[in-house]
């Protein structure tokens, strides 16, 4: 026995009476059970009531799919009340994804052709809400017929259904194109609005419609004129403006028709000016119309006087106290700034004022517009304003603001020092939000500005001493202190107040960075390397640095551990190479790959006393690779190496860097010297990526019975060449075919002149010191062509 069912208002009352979510769910579930039972029983008179309740429950968010078939039954029923609820249910519950929706096509068709006006209206409404593509195709003709019926109510609904059909199935535009011109002559505003929307859709979707509708521009202008100039009309007046919605729609259509088309634009120019001047702006409706007018003027190729008018209107909007209007003005100015830059510049002070507004939407728009307005003449003041904004702005805008400031500074910086100052300030305020390459950019910038090294390192030291939590700033500061520590310690900065910094303070600061839990692993890497570099720059002894480095040799972070161990090795076994390795870096190419194939102008101090064995890939090329690890974001691409410290190839293995293997161009070798068992052979390699470079490997081998010791090889070339001698593998060639000495000579031959070389050898052999000087002339042509 089914309990008497509730009416809809009673159900609503019950739901409102529920105190908690759980109670509400209980009530609704009980009711849904009733509804389902009622549907099963097929109780015709009450069905619409049940469905109404179901729709309410659906709106609250509960599943209601079992009502779909009921909708169909109700639509098919002859009673109006049933149909009404049925169609509403169809609109809410059925859509393209449900299989059942096609079943109502037939009902709609019947209702469209035979129903009374309200029924036709309902059917058209439903069609325009949930009509799928197939339904639209089937029913297009019906709708088109209804477009020309005498009743305005039906015509209005039919036009709206046509709009939906065009959106779903653009091919139907052929059917709906012809009636449009006639519909434009209507007096009924509802139909007019619908028609304008229909024409807008047609123009947007089918390019063939555009020229067809450009002919009606005069008609549209006429309608607009009547609206604007006519007096008060009670039916259509909204806040004193005669049907602003229609005006806005017409303006939009004019915009679409006038875009890129001179003739139409000219036809509407007068009207636009008239609308702009005559509209009453004291209420929001008037402002809405003005806004649309401004957008239209901006988009079509209009007269310059008109554009000035538009910019002035926007300027007035900006000064208005109503936030909505300001927001709208800022948005449109952003569109305008590309084309009419100077006109918008005049309003710059107001825009900057809007930055300080507490409203998030407004300040976001103001930020975008301010960034677009920055140019070389106002860069300093704008940057000041933007930095002030950066300090107080909400978190989601910070990243945009910071990158905006940095970009603007890059494009328009008046001096390098200002640029460095600006970037430093941004990093201090919003360091966590800047892009990753800001650090790289800053280091490259500082590296390039030689005269500002002392200044920048002093500033960065001060900033670092104040606060070590901003990671990008810390990274840059650590790098600079490492590179230019000597300048910092000598206190030789003239531009800022002289700063006396003790070595101990600097080391303490770097240690603090290393140990702080705020530091990222990358930052720690920077700090460690900076400490190492300082070991060559400071006058005091290195014990403290050595201690720190050896502590980190057992750090858990693999990257740090690798570095610490390598640096340890530098301290212990390769101490003699340390100054050379840790020299100041050359300027890195901006944006280029971090490979240092051209060891630009760094003559290696050539030291005769070597005891370690190192194979042909000498440390020098690898040193620059090591130091390059610190620049930019690429630092951590090294695979962790094995940590054994066996002598021999271990140094290279630790450094384990992507060495550039020269490609093998088979050039025949050359034997240049042979005396008493000591032979010098030259082999050549031409790396393909640098055509002017020639790598010569000189190999000294000993077949005699006595060792060759204190072997030194020097070379000289004619002036047009550049020669670089790299560190030889040793200076002793043991007797009887012991391991030979190899040395790499780099020759740069930009003029492709024939190569000549003079070699001077000094060594001890058979207990006597020998000195030999000779010239090598007959190099294979491949070596220098």
């Amino acid at each position: 026995m089914v309990l008497p069912s509730l009416k809809l208002p009673e159900l609503i009352q019950e739901i409102r009476g529920a105190k908690t979510q759980a109670q509400e769910r209980e009530v609704i579930q009980k009711e849904c059970a009733h509804i389902r039972a009622a549907f099963r029983e097929g109780d015709a008179p009450q069905r619409h009531r049940q469905l109404a309740k179901l729709l309410y429950v659906h709106m609250l968010g509960y599943p209601a799919h079992f009502g779909q078939m009921e909708c169909l039954k109700l639509i098919a029923s002859p009673r109006f009340t049933d149909k009404r609820v049925g169609y509403l249910g169809a609109m809410l519950l059925l859509d393209e994804r449900q299989d059942a929706h096609l079943l109502i096509t037939n009902s709609i068709k019947n209702d469209l052709s035979q129903g009374t006006q309200p029924v036709q209206g309902l059917a058209l409404c439903t069609l325009s809400t949930m009509g799928s593509a197939e339904m639209c195709r089937d029913l297009a003709n019906e709708v088109e017929r209804l477009l020309l019926r005498p009743s305005p109510y039906i015509r209005k609904k039919a036009v709206l259904a046509a709009v939906h059909m065009i959106r779903k199935v653009p091919e139907l535009s052929d059917i709906f194109l012809p009636p449009c011109t006639q519909l434009l002559r209507e007096r009924h505003h509802g139909i007019l609005i619908g028609t304008i929307t229909l024409i807008t859709e047609l123009c947007e979707r089918s390019p063939a419609a555009l020229p067809h509708f450009r002919q009606v521009v005069p008609q549209l202008v006429q309608i607009l004129r009547i609206l604007v100039m006519s007096g008060y009309s009670a039916e259509h007046s909204v806040a004193g403006i005669s049907d602003p919605f229609l005006q806005v729609k017409i303006l939009r259509l004019l915009r679409i028709l006038g875009r890129n088309h001179e003739e139409s634009s000219e036809a509407m120019n007068d009207m636009l000016a008239q609308v702009a001047t005559n509209t009453d702006t004291s209420r929001n409706a008037g402002n809405a119309v003005l806004y649309e007018t401004v957008l239209t003027i901006v988009d079509i190729p209009s007269a310059s006087g008109l554009r000035v008018l538009a910019v002035n209107i926007l300027g007035r909007f900006l000064l208005n106290s109503d936030k909505n209007i300001r927001y709208v003005a800022l948005t449109s100015l952003l569109q305008l700034v590309q084309s009419d830059h100077s006109a918008v510049q005049r309003h710059r002070p107001t825009v900057v004022e809007c930055l300080k507004d507490p409203d998030a939407s407004l300040s976001r728009r103001a930020l975008e517009l301010s960034l677009a307005l920055v140019n070389s003449s106002n860069i300093r003041s704008m940057t000041q304003e933007l930095q002030g904004f950066l300090e107080s702005c909400p978190a989601d805008l910070r990243a945009d603001c910071a990158s905006g400031i940095l970009l603007a500074a890059e494009r328009f910086a008046p001096t390098k020092r200002w640029h460095i100052d600006t970037i430093m300030q941004v990093l201090t305020t919003a360091g966590a939000h800047v892009r990753d390459d800001a650090v790289a950019n800053l280091t490259q910038l500082i590296g390039g500005a030689e005269e500002l090294h002392a200044y920048s390192v002093c500033q960065l030291y001060n900033a670092l001493a104040a606060d070590i939590s901003q990671q990008p700033l810390v990274q840059v500061a650590a790098w600079c202190i490492g590179e230019y520590g000597d300048l910092l310690l000598s206190g030789s900065c003239e531009e800022a107040e002289p700063l006396q910094v003790q070595e101990e303070e600097v080391l303490t600061l770097l240690e603090k960075v290393l140990q702080s839990h705020l530091s990222l692993p990358a930052t720690r890497g920077y700090a460690l390397t900076a400490l190492m570099k300082l070991s060559t720059r400071i006058q005091g002894d290195n014990n403290r640095i050595r201690q720190i480095v050896s502590i980190y040799g057992s750090c858990l972070d693999i990257e740090l551990q690798q570095r610490a161990v390598e640096y340890n090795a530098l301290f212990r076994k390769y101490d003699h190479m340390r100054p050379a390795i840790l020299e100041k870096m050359p300027l890195v190419e901006h944006g280029g790959p971090q490979d240092d194939e051209a060891g630009e102008g760094k003559e290696e101090p050539w030291n005769p006393n070597r005891e370690s064995q190192s194979p042909t890939k000498t440390p020098t090329a690898n040193l620059l690779d090591l130091l390059d690890l610190l620049n930019g974001a690429s630092g951590d691409a090294q695979p962790p190496p094995a940590l054994d410290l066996t002598p021999g190839g271990s140094l290279l293995h630790l450094l384990d860097l992507p060495s550039t293997t020269p490609s093998l161009a088979p050039i025949p070798g050359l034997k240049v010297f042979d005396r008493e068992g000591l032979q010098i052979n030259l082999s050549f390699v031409r790396p393909p990526e640098i055509p002017a470079l020639l790598l010569i490997t000189a190999t000294a081998s000993n077949t005699s019975k006595s060792d060759v010791t204190h072997f030194v090889c020097q070379a000289a070339v004619p002036k047009s060449f550049q020669l670089q001698l790299q560190i030889p593998s040793g200076d002793t060639v043991p007797a009887q075919g012991g391991p030979p000495i190899t040395q790499v000579l780099r020759v740069l031959n930009p003029n492709k002149a024939p190569l000549r070389m003079r070699l001077k050898l000094t060594y001890n052999h058979f207990g006597q010191s020998v000195q030999e000087i000779f010239e090598v002339k007959d190099f294979p042509p491949d070596t220098w062509q």
Partner: protein
């Protein structure tokens, strides 16, 4: 184009919701709760247009009821703002001094009024349509 039309009260209870694009039913409740939270966090002096995800919200507050319309970028925001007020004026005329309770209880009526297919109709047309008797 209008994406949805909501009437939600301050406690987050939806009085009327009309979606013009398909959104799944569980996502609807989440959306409504989120939207009302955003609107409640704004003060009186802030502007009525909020940029939310990839579309815009235009809201107007009438006593304890918020009317929120979601639009994409092709609409004139101020015209929609005016349209919300127009809608409320029609309801007002029909119910003579409409209140939230009226909307809740005459849900069918309000629904049918909101079936205006994304094109704002004039007051005149709205009145005509609502004059049908309900059972």
């Amino acid at each position: 184009m209008i994406k949805f039309f909501l009437m939600v009260n301050k406690q987050g209870q939806t009085r009327l919701s009309r979606y013009y694009e398909h959104i799944e039913i569980n996502k609807r409740t989440i959306l409504e709760a989120d939207v009302i939270k955003t609107c409640l966090s704004r003060s009186k002096e802030q502007c009525s247009f909020i940029e939310y995800k990839d579309f815009k919200l235009i809201y107007r507050q009438y006593a304890a009821l918020f009317i929120v319309v979601g639009i994409n970028e092709t609409e004139n925001e101020m015209a929609v703002y005016e349209f919300i007020h127009n809608f409320v004026e029609v309801l007002d005329m029909y119910f003579s001094r409409v209140s939230e309770l009226d909307v809740s209880f005459s849900i069918l009526c309000a629904y049918l009024h909101s079936t205006m297919q994304r094109v704002p109709v004039t007051k005149w047309a709205g009145k005509y349509y609502l004059s049908y008797p309900e059972s």
